[in-house]
């Protein structure tokens, strides 16, 4: 707390950094989702992908990211809303999940949000896919932002033969 007071003196830290979270927010249709900004490696336009056989429909394939092969997950399809008909205007957000890099195909990246951890709510029980894939929900400017659990999104992408 002393620390906070010190920072306030200089007026540089309006929010308690220890208790806040910076998110990259992106949209899929009407919905807004967010991931912690530190996990994001880069954002690039959709430019097609080589399809991977024997994988779930939400695995759009793999792309070449400067010499390494990175899988692309279609978030819309992951949330059970059918495959995105991707165009050049769609966006791939490359993130690190554990020691792996994965790309998420989304409609658009909208904002960088700073939210307080206290504002994170639990995901209401009901839709099992939501509880499985979201870590929580935050409200920002009266918008609802779903916090994506990346590990859960990536899990189980392979079709068991």
């Amino acid at each position: 707390m002393d620390n906070l007071a010190y920072k306030d003196d200089y007026g540089t830290a309006p929010v308690n950094m220890q208790n806040s979270l910076q998110l990259i927010a992106f949209s899929i249709g009407e919905q807004t989702y967010g991931v912690e900004i530190t996990t994001v490696r880069e954002i690039r336009a959709w430019n097609g992908a080589t399809p991977l056989p024997n994988t779930r429909d939400y695995v759009r394939g793999v792309i070449n990211l400067r010499g390494t092969i990175v899988p692309i997950f279609d978030l819309r399809a992951r949330f059970g809303d059918g495959q995105t008909s991707a165009t050049k205007n769609h966006v791939v957000v490359v993130m690190s999940v554990g020691d792996k890099w994965v790309g998420m195909l989304v409609d658009a990246v909208s904002d960088i949000l700073t939210v307080s951890k206290d504002d994170i709510h639990n995901v209401p029980e009901g839709n099992s896919l939501d509880t499985e894939l979201l870590n929580g929900i935050v409200t920002y400017d009266s918008r609802m932002v779903g916090l994506i659990d990346l590990a859960a999104v990536v899990r189980g992408a392979k079709v068991e033969a």
Partner: protein, 747 residues
Amino acid sequence: MSDLDDFKATYFDECSELLLELEEQFAAIQAGDRSPDRLNAVFRAIHSIKGGGGAFGFTELVAFAHAYETLLDHVRDGRLQLTPSVTTLCIRANDIVADFVSAAKAGKSLGGNYGGVERAQFDALTTGHAAETAGAAADESLEDFDIDFTPVAVNLDTAPAADVAGEDSFAQPPLAAERGHWEIHFTPHSELYARANDPLLLLRELASLGELNVVAKLKEIPPLADFEPFGVYCSWELTLVSPTATAETIGEVFEFVEGNCDLTIMPLAPRGAKPAEANSLAELAAMVTPKADPDDAMPGFEALANELKQETVKRAPAAPPPVPKLLAGLAPVPAAAPPAEDADDRRAGPEDRRGAGIQSIRVDLDKVDRVVNMVGELVITQSMLTQQMDDMLKARYQELVRGLEVLAQTTRGLQDAVMAIRAQPVKSVFSRMPRLVRELAQKTGKQIRLETIGEATEIDKTVIEQLSDPLTHMIRNSADHGIETPEKRKAAGKPEIGTIRLSAEQAGGNILIMVEDDGAGINRERVLEVARQRMVIGPDQQLTEEQIDNLIFAPGFSTASEVSDISGRGVGMDVVLSNIKKIGGSVNVRSRTGQGTRMTLRLPLTLAVLDVMLVKVGPAPYVVPLSSIVETIQCARADFGRTPSGGKVLRVRGEYVQVVDLSERFEMSAREMANRFVVLCEAEGGNKVALVVDDIIGQQQVVIKSLEENFEHVDGIAGGTILGDGNVALIVDVQGLKSHEFHRNAA
């Protein structure tokens, strides 16, 4: 601390090289080569291992190596004959040294008594011969394996002069010494200088211990005409007065040149008689004060210059001998300037030698790998560029075409050169096998001889690393299942000693590694029986002899009725298969009942770049490794058939081959066969599979990229690669497609 860790890593690297060297030398010695070079090499290797071990405080290792070294010393100066039993003991000792080294590497202790039996044998052998010679006393006083320098002649050279010096110095009664007075005889060998050690630094170090008196002995310096630029003619007699110095602390000063010099350290009686030789004028002139100015020339060098000056003056009237320019400044000569070429020659000498001294460098493998990867990318970019050249462009830009041709050549050359950096002779793996065979022979009570052929064959280091485990398992298998007991062999009319032959040769773009034994061959009935029992094959399945032989590679398969610690758990041969498969190789077995078994590993020369055929399945590009392709056939001309169960087969040259339609398999959509192509591939063990693809695009080289790095393994896909246009193509896993039954999964 990280510095020390670096040194340690280097030390262990060196140790493994030295251990290989030991293995090699003893192989030659066992084969009857008795040249002293062999023994010297062995001695050097053990000595280096000991020396480094001492520096890092691996006391167990040092103690054992020391005892072993003592034995070798006896052998070297002829006090002990190198009988077969001594050779066997030495080989056993090598193994123990290797164990100590790996224990030290792992930071473990093998317990004080490890190797105790052998040590006792060393002692028995060395002390048995000891009483006769003065040197033996030295060994006895060293028996407690104190690596410290005790006041005895540690005689590391066989040069007669040094011998005499050693005996003499030993004759002086050590107990009559006064505390703190030491006499040190120091005769560097040329290796000492070759390893960039400077006696001056050693002398300074000694001087820091106390009051040091240095006498250079220059008797050996020949007339200038006979002077060899790299000859070592100078030695020193030192007296050190220091109340604190012990033989140990003095020895430490010389720790890093141990083995590269003759060194005697002995306590000195006060006002002891000066060495008689140290009285000549030239030698007195060469005396230098211990705390010399750092800019001073080496003490010996100054003396050398004086000597040269005298020599020159003496001879000058007759014929002015050429004086190296190097010395000209130090000792201005009143003689005519030496002929220019001559002086140049002499100056060129040291430089040449210096150049020749650095014949290899140690480079972190990561760095080499990075270069290899980048060259791989370069090769692909280059081939992409070449493909982009259509006829119109070729006609228009002839200069560009020529440039591209040169580029193609250069990249090829670059690629070969880079791969050659990483290539290593298979010897590094082969030379681990003799020990294995010895141990196996001992455990099984069989007599086995190992022959190795083609050890100089070079393969990429990454392939070699993957080779050790499979080879170990194959040799175990041969020793355990192949070679029969001496009695059985005798009964079968074979020589009692079984032979395992390990050979390597290059065949086109592949390396063939063969493990052959002259044992009983594969017991096919037993294999078949066990395979049926373990449900590896169906009860009524009929197999060819070859197919039966290849069953031994099935996971969990073992015919040994009892699990021994050599084999029988059934994990061996499938490890061979999976390791070899991983590096894109194949395994084949041929066996003749009663005559032996031959297992052949076919390995790619390199893992970095793969020659592939680019094909299309639906909209997506796939690549098939060229090494596995037998032929391609147009579907319209192919002779398809159906098995009763509905599976598709292809008849080609009287053989029925399983058909895998990649569209069905990967795209999950059935397509008309017409206008498509069959790519006939050969999987392991000569099993064929026919892949049906939509189109064949061409041939190219690709760099293999891992799919697992950011995703996970996908069935039927061995990895990915990046094409010239930046898109990803997937590599078809021919073996995987063949071995897994296709399950259509409604996702």
